[in-house]
Symmetry: C2
Subunit: 344 residues, 2 copies
DNA sequence: TTGTAAGCGTTATCAG
DNA sequence: CTGATAACGCTTACAA
């Protein structure tokens, strides 16, 4: 069933059918009615592939993301909502071999470009030199917006979090509270946002004249269990060396903080009495975990919204001006931490 | 840039270019090499829209889901993985006005059909009569697989959970443990999976000769905070009526159980000493919450995998035979519950 | 107001 | 092995 059939059945030409279907002017009421009647009766659904081909516009937006998981669900939800409101559909691609694989990212980009999506939102975990070269090329082929990473020197708009300021603020909260031995549970080293957080942790200590003690730094992979294990490893290592546990720990994300608190409780370490734990992300769990986490709340929903709006504006206005949007943040003080120098 | 350009540049016809691009036989080495060289040099990317139009096959699969959120992320991840392995891309649509809106579902279906996706996976929360009529029509237009709901009398394959057996098993665990006053925190009433769970709760009690006490049943909406509030309401209501709290509560999902446990602790009710809480879903967080939840683990990843595999098989073999896949389940006994009749 | 015909970028049939 | 040419279903000058 196509517009030829509809044309035949309503006794007009395909041009007229097309005009009616697209609400274009220059059609008599009579012709319009005849066509509409046939369209309704046959439940005709126009073929968007053909329209896209003829219009060089698909009304589809693509996402290239490292993985489909709960961390990104709010962000994707927001993107989808904006897209839907603006008449776009959403195609998603993610990596499987390795969340950080540039080859797979490239594969996904090509998939979307073949499908002639109108624009792409890219969630990189890491932008290395080869990524840079790749993006430099892609940027000319298709409108794109990047989240999380700001890439200097390329004409791609981005929506980023300021990872350093909140980390410094949360560190200041701990330091002002009298904590001096502050541990860190780090995330994956290829994640640039993660690295900025860690960098801010280090500089916060240094600014107060505190040396970074490598024994207080453990590595995780952002999962609950990696945080759990990191705490156990830290405790064991410190035990072996005859050192005390830190009075506070900064975990690179909420999940690892929760894992670490779970391990602490099992080891008889009370949180926050014996150990303050703070973290980053402000996921929904962080509020309902017991104790409620002290964390930096990142508004993933707004991030997604801004990314989608920025992309669609770029697509529709063909503006070439690069935009950089920096998300604001919010520190949430929960019950997983306490100042040392205040009783109660 | 299209195959005409490539043809011109390599001195062959578009037919030959097409053959080379699709790895078809009947092309001389010489011609193949010439074309490949030009393709690589120009970084030519064939237009999938045109291919899809010519082939009547888009290699895209669509999802119609009630909302994009963490509950579905594993399921969607699995679907995407299977699709990717089989050469399909994924387009997702979800509802905003109302997760249960049949109008919006229909809108989403039409969107995907216009885009000529090769098949659709539908996550309904509820299948009422109008849904039934809708699906009956759609089923003839496009290959489809439904999750969660089994729809009798329509030729649509489905992948479902058995909601009743696990609920009964978990109820038996509580009842065998000596619990008799067992409360229930119910989910949204339009959700059919939810209703089956509740039905199994009721029949489990009746089978043991226990009357359902309406005062022990509260309503939530699957969120943390609704579980939190449900518990507070239950406590207040029972107080008012001079009744005791139940010794156990069955929550329709993990999030509400967690909310309820949080509220309990704040009210001085110890879990599991004073109150056993069990629930359903087995989300990742249920294991790391303190206390670890007693729950029914539903394998959302496998569910997604099976749905995608079933759909793709239907698309590619044009089989019309209806398949119904029932997921297995696993009861996880955590520390949020305890038998009453065992000391320790 | 309407219709014809060329074009969007492919595939595939059918001669050569 | 190769190349015209007619589809695929739609939009849009251009003419009438």
């Amino acid at each position: 069933m196509n517009i030829y059939d509809i044309a035949k059945m309503s006794g007009v030409s395909i041009a007229t059918v097309s005009r009616v279907l697209n609400n274009k002017p220059g059609v008599s009421e009579n012709a319009r009615n005849k066509v509409m009647a046939v369209v309704e009766q046959t439940e005709f659904v126009p073929n968007q592939l053909a329209k896209s081909l003829a219009n060089s516009k698909s009304f589809v937006i693509g996402i290239v993301m490292p993985g489909i998981n709960d961390y990104y669900s709010n962000r994707v939800d927001a993107i989808h909502k904006v897209c839907k409101e603006e008449g776009y559909s959403l195609m998603i691609t993610s990596n499987y071999k390795d969340t950080n694989s540039i080859e797979e990212d490239l594969f996904n980009f090509n998939l979307l470009i073949e499908k002639r999506v109108d624009g792409i939102i890219y969630f990189p975990t890491h932008v290395s030199n080869p990524h840079y070269e790749l993006l430099k090329k892609l940027e000319k082929k298709i409108p794109m917006v990047i989240t999380d990473s700001d890439i200097e020197g390329i004409d791609i708009s981005c929506v980023v979090q300021d990872s350093e300021t909140p980390t410094k603020e949360l560190m200041a909260y701990l330091l002002d509270g009298g904590h001096e031995r502050i541990g860190y549970i780090n995330g994956l080293s290829y994640d640039q946002v993660n690295n900025k957080r860690y960098g801010a942790y280090v500089s916060s200590l240094k600014n107060r004249g505190i040396e970074v003690d490598e024994d207080l730094v453990e590595l995780g992979n952002f999962s609950f269990s990696s945080g759990y294990q990191a705490l156990i490893r830290m405790k064991d290592k410190l035990n072996e060396k005859g050192k005390d546990m830190p009075t506070a720990i900064f975990a690179a994300n909420d999940k690892m903080a929760i894992g670490a608190i779970k391990a602490s409780k099992e080891l008889g370490i009370r949180v926050p009495e014996d150990l303050s734990v703070v973290s980053y992300d402000g996921i929904e769990y962080s509020e309902f975990f017991i104790p409620k986490l002290t964390t930096v709340k990142v508004n993933q929903y707004k991030l997604g919204q801004l990314a989608a709006q920025t992309l669609i504006e770029k697509i529709e206005t063909k503006k070439t001006k690069r935009v950089k949007v920096v998300m604001d943040h919010k520190i949430v003080i929960g019950n997983s931490s306490r100042p040392l120098n205040q009783e109660g």
